[in-house]
């Protein structure tokens, strides 16, 4: 099971639950599992969030694999100037 942590305001959409243990195998799978448990998250995941898998930040990539023992953070997207 991957340990999944929601960062920032996303926690408000899960009734305050910030951490999950989920059998996610990819970012796409992770989003599906999160949306299934907390439908209010779905539009925010679709709008765009960044996902940090074992310390590495990914953006706009649904196919990135997640290992069973990964630590995953779902966080706001990052742009720049």
């Amino acid at each position: 099971m991957a340990r999944v942590v929601l960062v920032g305001n996303l926690v408000q959409l899960t009734g305050g639950v910030a951490q999950f243990d989920l059998p996610a195998t990819s970012v796409k799978h992770l989003f599906a599992l999160l949306a299934e448990r907390h439908p209010a998250l779905a539009p925010h995941l679709e709008e765009g969030v960044a996902v940090a898998i074992d310390g590495q930040i990914y953006q706009d990539t649904l196919l990135e694999p997640i290992a069973p023992d990964s630590e995953v953070f779902v966080m706001p997207q990052i742009a720049g100037g």
Binding site: V5, V7, Q56, D60, E71, F73, M75, G80, G81
Partner: protein
């Protein structure tokens, strides 16, 4: 001596890491390079914008009939020429755009929300006629109360900009609309428990003013729409694919029918990631059936393009008496300008990023007010929050009687440190940058009376993103390189060096250009310190395709199996027994027989680059305060920053120096000054004081290189981080020089003088 990088990407580095001559240099120094305003088309019209004279007003009516009747006027556009957009956030590249706001910023609809807000645009046969036409447009306004300051805008009784704006991020949803668009928060550990462990606590409030990127080239665009709807745009932008997306969306065009070419760009720094003139020029050209050229004046740039936010910040930090940070709290209130979308979220995430702190809580508010909508500016959001935190870190150092560099070293984020925003850092170079400034001569140079030394560190995430690039081997063995992100800070040189090393061809034989939107797949813009990082990865992919193709051709030519051929040191070589029967072939050798061995040779890299490595930097400044005038003179300045790997060291140093120079302006002079009427009073470089060369010493740049393990060459983005530390470094140095902690930017001469007078310190340097 050629080197091979240590990231498992075994390519000899002949050019990467050297200081090659820039391929765009001759055109730049001879004046041949074409910037936005240099482009013209036969029969083009002049476009001009009518802007709001009010900070806040309802538009009762717009009558353009008299302007349209003026001889020489070929088109007039208003809000009625742009279909309204629904309020939804839509991915545009990697950005989330609410086109309902974008269409209203391009041309006001129900209300004008800041002085300079566009209300109408005209296309005419001359400047004089266009200007006359603007005066003939009759706009009836119902003037409304306005609000400029971020704290005032948050008050319940503040003039309301948007009647439908309810604060997001709070539960339950507010019953009334307000100017607070969003509340964001991050937390780590237990902040109260952290402060309970602290022996020393410092709590301060800070303000920063909006500052403009100050790009020397104003916004400019030429648009030409043909009778079949095919649209061409030439403009100064950081992202021509983004311009294409925005124009297509705002005007209901097929993306495939819009072709955008980026001109040379005279600076952007984040400010040219949005559209202002381009949709207007397209709409005017479509109506007039002639090309239309639009160029902003400097006054328009100041009044109607986006600076970064001004802010109000509270910071509270706690440390143990031995110098360990145990708690960090902050509240950030960022101005968004007329529409929501300040960079408060990254400001929140970056505030404590340089440090390993167990207990962190940062709250941010995105607040609208009657100013131009903010745009990105290097490391958007981070310089503001990190200025406040780094100032408090310096105060802690003083209270604890610990050297400020040593205190930072004690608490610095390292590989494995859990960032306050969530994940753990990989290999990072903050500690190396702190050690680097410690070792400088500057750090131990004796200081005189009224002189002070300040230090501050900074962080930015960096990003990757969608990127395409192509390499084409020409008949004579030269290589054409095409990238799709505008070259602002040396992209062409850097990518040409990578291509030369990848293919084993001389650097001078690679000619890099920036392709238009019809020439490559989608490219996200030049921003987020991504273009060299991502572009180099795309070039590596394109080169891989070429090398694989050449190996396949060689195997057939030599009657060998595919695994008996390899590309090494710039040549295709046979391997194993009998390899010496076949003369290795270079890329140029293959170019001669390309037609006979399968046709033209080329490779195409198309990626969504991931693996951007964060960059940390530390700045060291020595300065002198004139107690008679309040003027601060920068004496010495050193930037140490982790580049991962500097592809072209001179360009990386240029990024460090440029960021420091802009930060010096932000710290000491730059601010938007509004009158009580809500109008900007200093919309020009004479009154908006940016540093010029004579204000600055040589800025020493130290390249720290902790390779990014996720990049084939170890590259980290470098363009954002250098603007993060200067404000705190300077404020800290002024405190050391005067004993006065300045918390409001800019620390301009009048403010310094007032503070000195209040303390009876404003005597001449000789003390007489």
């Amino acid at each position: 001596m050629p080197q091979t990088n240590g990231n498992g990407h075994a390519v000899a580095q002949t050019y990467v890491g050297t200081r090659t001559v820039r391929p765009d240099g001759v055109d730049k120094v001879t004046g041949r390079a074409r910037f936005g305003a240099d482009f013209s088309l036969p029969g083009q019209l002049v476009g001009r914008v009518l802007r709001s004279p009010h900070a806040h007003a309802r538009i009762v009516a717009i009558d353009t009939s008299r302007a349209e009747q003026l001889p020489g006027v070929k088109a007039v556009v208003t809000r009625d020429d742009f279909p309204d957009q629904s309020s939804e956030f839509i991915p545009a590249g990697e950005m989330l755009i609410n086109y309902r706001d974008v269409v209203r910023n391009v041309l006001a609809r129900e209300k004008v929300l800041y002085e300079g807000h566009p209300v109408a645009a005209v296309a005419a046969t001359s400047v004089a006629i266009a200007k006359r036409a603007l005066k003939l447009i009759d706009v009836q306004y119902e003037v409304l109360p306005h609000v400029i300051d971020v704290v005032e805008a948050m008050r319940p009784d503040a003039p309301l900009l948007h009647e439908d704006l309810y604060t997001a991020g709070v539960e339950p949803k507010p019953a009334k609309p307000s100017n607070v668009a969003k509340r964001v928060e991050i937390s780590l550990g237990d902040i109260e428990a952290g402060f309970a462990k602290a022996d020393v606590i410092v709590e301060r409030e800070f303000t920063t003013q909006p500052v403009h990127q100050g790009y020397i080239e104003p916004h400019a665009a030429v648009a030409s729409v043909s009778e079949d709807g095919s649209t061409e745009i030439w403009c100064s932008t950081q992202g021509h694919f983004i311009v294409r997306a925005h124009c297509a969306r705002l005007l209901g065009l097929d993306i495939g029918k819009v072709r955008v070419t980026a001109s040379e760009i005279g600076g952007g720094f984040g400010g040219k990631t949005v559209v202002y003139l381009e949709p207007l020029a397209v709409a005017l050209s479509k109506k007039a059936k002639r090309p239309v050229k639009m160029v902003m004046s400097r006054e328009e740039v100041f009044k109607a393009s986006g600076p970064t936010s001004g802010a109000h910040i509270k910071v509270k930090m706690g440390a143990t008496k031995d110098g360990r940070f145990v708690a960090g709290y902050a509240e950030l209130r960022y101005q968004a300008g007329a529409f929501q979308g300040s960079p408060v979220q990254p400001g929140v995430m970056c505030a404590y990023a340089p440090y390993d702190i167990e207990n962190v809580k940062v709250i941010g508010y995105d607040v609208v007010s009657n100013r131009p909508k903010v745009a990105a500016y290097r490391a958007p959001g981070a310089p503001i929050s990190e200025f406040a935190v780094e100032s408090v870190v310096d105060e802690l150092a003083k209270k604890l009687e610990i050297d400020p560099v040593e205190l930072r070293l004690q608490n610095a984020a390292r590989e494995g440190t859990k960032a306050a925003y969530g994940p753990k850092f990989g290999p990072i170079g903050l500690v190396d940058t702190l050690h680097a400034v410690e070792k400088t001569n500057q750090y131990t140079t004796p200081l005189g009376e009224w002189q002070g030394r300040g230090v501050a560190s900074g962080f930015w995430f960096n990003i990757g993103g969608e990127t395409c690039a192509s390499l084409t081997v020409n008949e004579d063995g030269t290589v054409s390189l095409m990238a799709g992100t505008p070259d602002i800070g040396g992209l062409r040189a850097s990518l040409a060096m990578v291509a030369a090393d990848e293919l084993g061809v001389p650097y001078e034989k690679v000619r890099p250009i920036i392709g238009d939107t019809g020439s490559l797949g989608f490219n996200f813009l030049t921003g987020g310190s991504r273009s060299c990082f991502s572009g180099a990865m795309a070039i590596v992919e394109a080169a891989k395709e070429i090398k694989a193709d050449l190996c396949a051709r060689a195997a057939k030519l030599w009657d060998l199996k595919a695994d008996q051929v390899e590309f090494k040191d710039g040549h295709v070589r046979a391997t194993g027994a009998g390899a010496d029967k076949h003369t290795p072939m270079s890329v140029a050798d293959f170019a001669k027989v390309a037609g006979k061995t399968g046709g033209p040779i080329g490779g195409y890299g198309r990626i969504n680059a991931q693996g951007a490595g964060p960059s940390f930097g530390t700045h060291l400044v020595d300065l002198e305060v004139d107690p008679e005038t309040g003027r601060v003179t920068i004496l010495r300045y050193t930037v140490a920053q982790d580049a991962g790997k500097a592809i072209h060291p001179s360009y990386v140093e240029g990024q460090y120096q440029g960021g420091a120079a802009q930060g010096i302006g932000w710290a000491l002079n730059e601010e938007y000054i509004y009158g009580a009427d809500g109008k900007l009073q200093n919309a020009g470089f004479l009154d908006y004081r940016m540093p010029v060369a004579s204000d600055l010493p040589m800025i020493d740049a130290i390249l720290v290189e902790v390779p990014n393990p996720r990049h084939p060459y170890g590259v980290r983005g470098v363009g954002e981080t250098p603007i993060v530390p200067p404000m705190a470094a300077i404020a800290n140095a002024i405190e050391r020089a005067t004993g006065i902690r300045f918390t409001d930017l800019p620390i301009s001469p009048p403010k310094v003088l007032k503070a000195l007078r209040e303390r009876g310190l404003n005597h001449p340097k000789n003390g007489s």
